[in-house]
Symmetry: C2
Subunit: 345 residues, 2 copies
């Protein structure tokens, strides 16, 4: 056996060969998984939108986390390929239905399913994707199957609850939504799926409960940091690198971290102005963006948000540090964290 | 132990007490299950439509089949309560999304979820119901869990495929859809879920594969008979008993068994007339119903459809007869079959 950085561990009664993978190894493996998988069956009207969605790409963060977490505890990669496909298929199902509900015309620069094939196809192909995710999870037997599926399903329910809370925010004034409520919403809508992917990977490897808990906490902090970064980029991204117009959340009157934090930091007068800018439906969209951003700058919002993001990344790193596992196996997770810290899009 | 009609069977290494239930016992048990279950959690905007849907009632055929099939092979009722809730929750999820896609304003005489709460709520509460169905299925550990969940999930995928095929028919002319295609569509959209419910009940009881196969075939025939009966009632139901206007499928230009079978039995001239009636968008709806029904009568359609339904019921009964199980335990399934044979709504 010649394994670059290889190590051999005794697990149960069989030898497992762990190669210390880099982040890029995992990303490539996930790409290969999706490339080799067939998504079109009969009737094609149902499956073509699914194939389209799953081949659009994206960052593939969730299956990558799942593979890396599995390796962290000496798991066998061939046992988690189904789960890796499943978690990404589920994630793309939620995007497909969210785009329909939010009436978002573009995803990854391409037309969304409902704009291309209509609302009904978006509903039904989405439903089918959810079931396909289950098919992937059920592909391979595993001793902790019920626990794994419970984790997946409870995560799915939380994602739905988070999406509903996000939609509820739309009907409320900015001053009425607290920062705590916002953090709770993004925890459910975004963070639990990253944490769940990690937990599932670790469960397949038979990791101890205590270690899984630390890994889950790592995932939650990473997910929160990721979403706050998203909010920051919406306001302060470099359009050329970001790939889309900044200020879209302001245009959509979306309650994101920026506006809710700005409200906290505002003087009474600034808060009134911000509330007015978010309440004036007649105001020109671009005008609104310019005025809100000017207000953010006057408040000194950016460094404060960067600090909050830094705090989540720091907490994530700390959780990862406390996990009892080989440092070389933690490296891809640290690498992913670092990539997300510095991301520009 | 005092069991009315009780019998004691040795199964594995424990005693199981089977009371010979009637169909009404099972229906009552299912009602109790739903009555005692809580469906409202936070956020209420997500769960209220779910609670509304699951409390609307309906025939509760699928969980009843599941309970009866479980008892047929000496299963323990307390082990399949989760699955019974799960299969009915899944069924109601498909109705909720189907009503949205078909723009059906009423279900069981009440406003459908999308008319009451809007499209987005229908999408997201439906998605959540699918996940809740999984939660019920995962509630209790069981030795054949993976097999049971696979059966549930493959059934779910077939139901989606069947719904897509049904939507595809809408875009085609009546002469272009064959009776075989129609039977394949209703097999997927309706029959596999009845068959799947039975199979799942039997799997929980640890029934032998050969017996499960016969039970599944019984379910398919029952499901086909059920759907053909539905089509017949749409044309020939007694409005007072049926509870809704007859001829709705004709109004909706829906390709159902009646029109496709009529086309088979038609002379060239009658076929042309039928095609014309289904192709003339300008024709008054009531006028269309009257003319199509007159044509059906001229063709002698009704007895031919009744014969096809009778044939499915006969085949169902034959499958049930071949199953190696106590006749007293088969009685509720025979009773349910008989109820469906004679149903007027």
């Amino acid at each position: 056996m010649h394994n670059k950085n290889g190590k051999v561990a005794l697990w149960g009664n069989q030898y497992i060969f762990n190669m210390a993978h880099t982040l890029n190894d995992y990303l490539r493996e996930v790409e290969t998984l999706f490339k080799e998988e067939r998504f079109i069956f009969d009737p094609k009207e149902l499956y073509e939108p699914i194939d389209y969605t799953l081949r659009l790409g994206g960052k593939r963060i969730r299956p990558t986390l799942l593979l890396a977490a599995n390796a962290l505890f000496g798991g066998r990669e061939e046992e988690v390929r189904g789960a890796a496909l499943g978690i990404e298929t589920f994630h793309n199902f939620t995007l497909l239905h969210d785009d329909l509900m939010d009436r978002s015309p573009l995803r990854r620069g391409q037309p969304t399913v409902y704009t291309k094939w209509g609302d009904n196809t978006a509903v039904l192909s989405g439903d089918t994707m959810f079931a396909l995710a289950w098919r992937y999870f059920l592909r391979q037997p595993t001793p902790r199957l019920r626990e794994i599926l419970n984790c997946f399903n409870e995560t799915a329910i939380e994602v739905c609850e988070g999406q509903q809370k996000d939609m509820n925010f739309e009907k409320r004034a900015i001053g009425d939504v607290s920062l705590e409520e916002y953090m709770d919403m993004i925890r459910q809508k975004t963070a639990v799926l990253l944490a769940g992917a990690l937990k599932i990977g670790a469960l397949y490897a038979g990791a101890p409960d205590g270690e899984i808990e630390k890994l889950y906490a790592f995932g939650l902090h990473l997910g929160l940091a990721f979403q706050l970064q998203d909010d920051l980029l919406d306001g302060y991204g470099d359009t050329a690198v970001f790939g889309k117009k900044t200020g879209q959340d302001i245009r959509d009157l979306k309650k994101n971290y920026l506006v809710l934090r700005a409200l906290q930091l505002s003087s009474r007068q600034q808060a009134d102005e911000l509330t007015r800018l978010f309440g004036d439906a007649a105001l020109d969209e671009d005008e609104r963006v310019v005025r809100v951003m000017a207000l953010y700058d006057a408040i000194g919002l950016k460094p404060s948000v960067e600090e909050a993001i830094g705090e989540e990344f720091r907490a994530a790193g700390e959780c990862l540090g406390r996990i009892d596992a080989d440092e070389t196996l933690k490296a891809p997770l640290r690498e992913l964290t670092a990539t997300l810290v510095g991301r520009k899009k």
